[in-house]
């Protein structure tokens, strides 16, 4: 696929920063109502990587993404995308970026295939390029049987997939996907992750994917680097492995209490017992994660199971997940969608 824009970029590309796909430094966004959405935030994203942006609702992720795309003016700081100064040249970034917003999508009264085709044409593709790519994407995203349906009549999940197709039209070098797996069934969710993993092969050039998601457990399998955003700042950044190592040499022991024996009194007793063995995070009613030192995990497990005895319905041992890092870093419980 060929970049369809005819704009000359050589004069506006900062050669020092062009090695990075995204270079954000000291970015602050303060709204008129005084709310600080991004607070001296800095992050760098290497070209051709899948970069995850995690964080609780209201952490400033979408605000950050909108500024990276040149759709929102920052209060201070700098943003470069593929070496282009986004603040001075917001229009120059648009031919390079495909964006799938989290909120409503446009063209709701148009058929799926027509929405894809028109998006391609508006992104500068010829009739043949847009026709060919929209046909290919309908097949790749398993939308062929829904191609003549109006976007407005699609289920929430299919609408997300169609919106993703619109973001992939053209020849983007940066693809920004905001919650691409919301409302998707497990089969389509897997398909979406596969498509993201295959972006480099699809476009036949390095494509950077900025992935905003709550679906931490699944995203963990595909992201190469992650930034956890909290209260407008980068609370942690690194590869999933680097972030998980922040939790130290710990193992996650998940304990599930039988629902029929669970009372407030029992819950208190369970938490007290578990606290003797390590840091405890209750993540659902009657479900607890205890982070116990790797050394001696066997005897700790025996003791816990012995102490709780008949109350335990199930338990599992696993290395810490990105979700655990998230909870550790933000100190809050992630709004888990359906990661289980």
């Amino acid at each position: 696929m060929r970049l369809t824009t005819t704009t000359s970029y050589s004069s506006i590309i900062d050669s020092e920063r062009s090695a990075l796909a995204i270079d954000v430094r000291n970015l602050t966004k303060k709204y008129k109502n005084g709310k600080v959405a991004n607070d001296h935030l800095s992050l760098q994203v290497d070209r051709g990587t899948i970069f995850g942006l995690l964080g609780p609702n209201g952490a400033g992720k979408t605000t950050l993404v909108l500024q990276i795309l040149g759709l929102l003016a920052p209060t201070s700081g700098s943003i470069y995308v593929e070496g282009i100064d986004v603040i001075s040249n917001p229009e120059k970034v648009k031919p390079l970026a495909g964006y799938m917003p989290q909120t409503r999508i446009a063209m709701r009264n148009l058929e799926v295939d027509r929405a894809l085709y028109i998006t391609g044409r508006l992104r500068g593709q010829s009739h043949e390029q847009a026709r060919k790519q929209s046909e290919g994407l309908l097949e790749m995203l398993d939308l062929t049987e829904h191609r003549k349906q109006f976007l407005d009549r699609l289920s929430g999940g299919l609408l997300r997939v169609a919106a993703m197709g619109m973001a992939l039209m053209g020849d983007p070098h940066l693809v920004v996907l905001d919650e691409p797996t919301n409302e998707l069934d497990p089969v389509r969710r897997r398909m979406v992750w596969d498509v993201i993993l295959g972006l480099q092969d699809y476009y036949k050039h390095p494509v950077t994917c900025l992935l905003v998601t709550h679906n931490v457990l699944e995203a963990e399998r595909i992201v190469e680097r992650v930034a956890i955003i909290d209260k407008g700042k980068v609370a942690a950044i690194g590869t999933p492995g680097e972030l998980k190592s922040q939790l130290g040499d710990e193992v996650r022991l998940e304990v599930v209490i039988k629902p029929d024996v669970l009372t407030e009194e029992i819950a208190l007793k369970v938490e007290e017992t578990l606290h003797d063995f390590g840091r405890v995070i209750p993540f659902r009613q009657g479900q607890y994660a205890v982070f116990v030192p790797r050394v001696g995990v066997g005897s700790a497990t025996d003791k816990i199971l012995g102490a709780l005895d008949v109350l335990v319905d199930d338990f599992r041992l696993s290395p810490p997940s990105l979700e655990d890092v998230y909870i550790h870093v933000t100190g809050s419980k992630i709004e888990l969608e359906d990661e289980q």
Partner: protein, 247 residues
């Protein structure tokens, strides 16, 4: 320029296809209202004279075009922004002016049956012998375009859709009634006579009156020149003055 018209073509297609579900209803109302206006106003006051009836028929057309340029363009963009569609357009490598022109053109097409009905129906209703000049075809989009910059500014800069509704209607009514659109220039209060010179509908109404009466003079050319300048200022103003910013 080729790219601009390609963008307009596809953005226009989107706007028209988005209206598909309620196209019949929209055309019905946009046709009936100008006809009723011509019929109702033609029965009272100045409507009894040929000059008065000409003012009413052409004035009704200009009021429809003012409605397209300010109210409909403002409300369309405000609505896009309010429900999140605007994010899609703002993220595309398209120009602001092509979106404004496409929105304006789609609304003009929907309003066109009403405009034609008022011109033809009014002529037949009151047995007026108009000799329309083909320049009428140019006056219609130029008028709507000359006002669409104001409509776009209201739609994109107002903090909420409710305010877009209020501002676009107030601006539409102000611009229309402060100009000699329905009422002859001489009959307007002195303040409005001066103020009217600043408003594109004054020139549009004058041009349309001359065009339907078959008058092809320097004044008509001047009116067209002013309208063209206003249309260019409107589009350039939108392109340079408004940023594709969401907040």
């Amino acid at each position: 320029m080729r790219r601009f018209w390609l963008e307009v073509r596809y953005l226009f297609t989107i706007q028209i296809l988005e209206e598909r579900g309620w196209l019949a209803g929209t055309i019905f109302f946009t046709t009936v209202f100008p006809l009723l206006l011509v019929f109702g106003l033609g029965l009272i006051g100045s409507g009894q004279t040929k000059e008065g009836l000409t003012y009413i028929i052409t004035g009704s057309t200009i009021s429809s075009l003012t409605f397209v340029g300010i109210t409909m363009v403002g409300q369309s963009l405000g609505w896009m922004k309010d429900r999140g569609d605007f994010l899609y357009y703002a993220s595309l490598p398209i120009s602001k002016s092509s979106l404004i022109v496409a929105v304006m053109a789609s609304k003009l097409v929907l309003q066109l049956p009403g405009i034609i009905a008022a011109l033809v129906g009014g002529t037949l209703m009151y047995d007026l012998h108009f000799k329309p000049n083909p320049v009428v075809i140019i006056i219609l989009p130029l008028t709507a375009l000359a006002l669409s910059g104001l409509g776009a500014a209201i739609g994109l800069l107002s903090p909420s859709y409710q305010l877009v509704n209020i501002f676009s209607q107030v601006a539409g009514i102000t611009v229309m009634f402060a100009a000699p659109v329905m009422i002859p220039w001489e009959s307007l209060p002195r303040v409005l006579q001066w103020f009217g010179w600043l408003l594109p509908p004054s020139y549009a109404a004058d041009a349309l009156r001359r065009a339907v009466l078959g008058i092809n003079d320097t004044r008509l050319m001047m009116d067209l020149l002013v309208l063209t300048t206003c249309a260019l200022v409107s589009i350039i103003g939108v392109t340079r003055g408004l940023r594709w910013r969401l907040r």
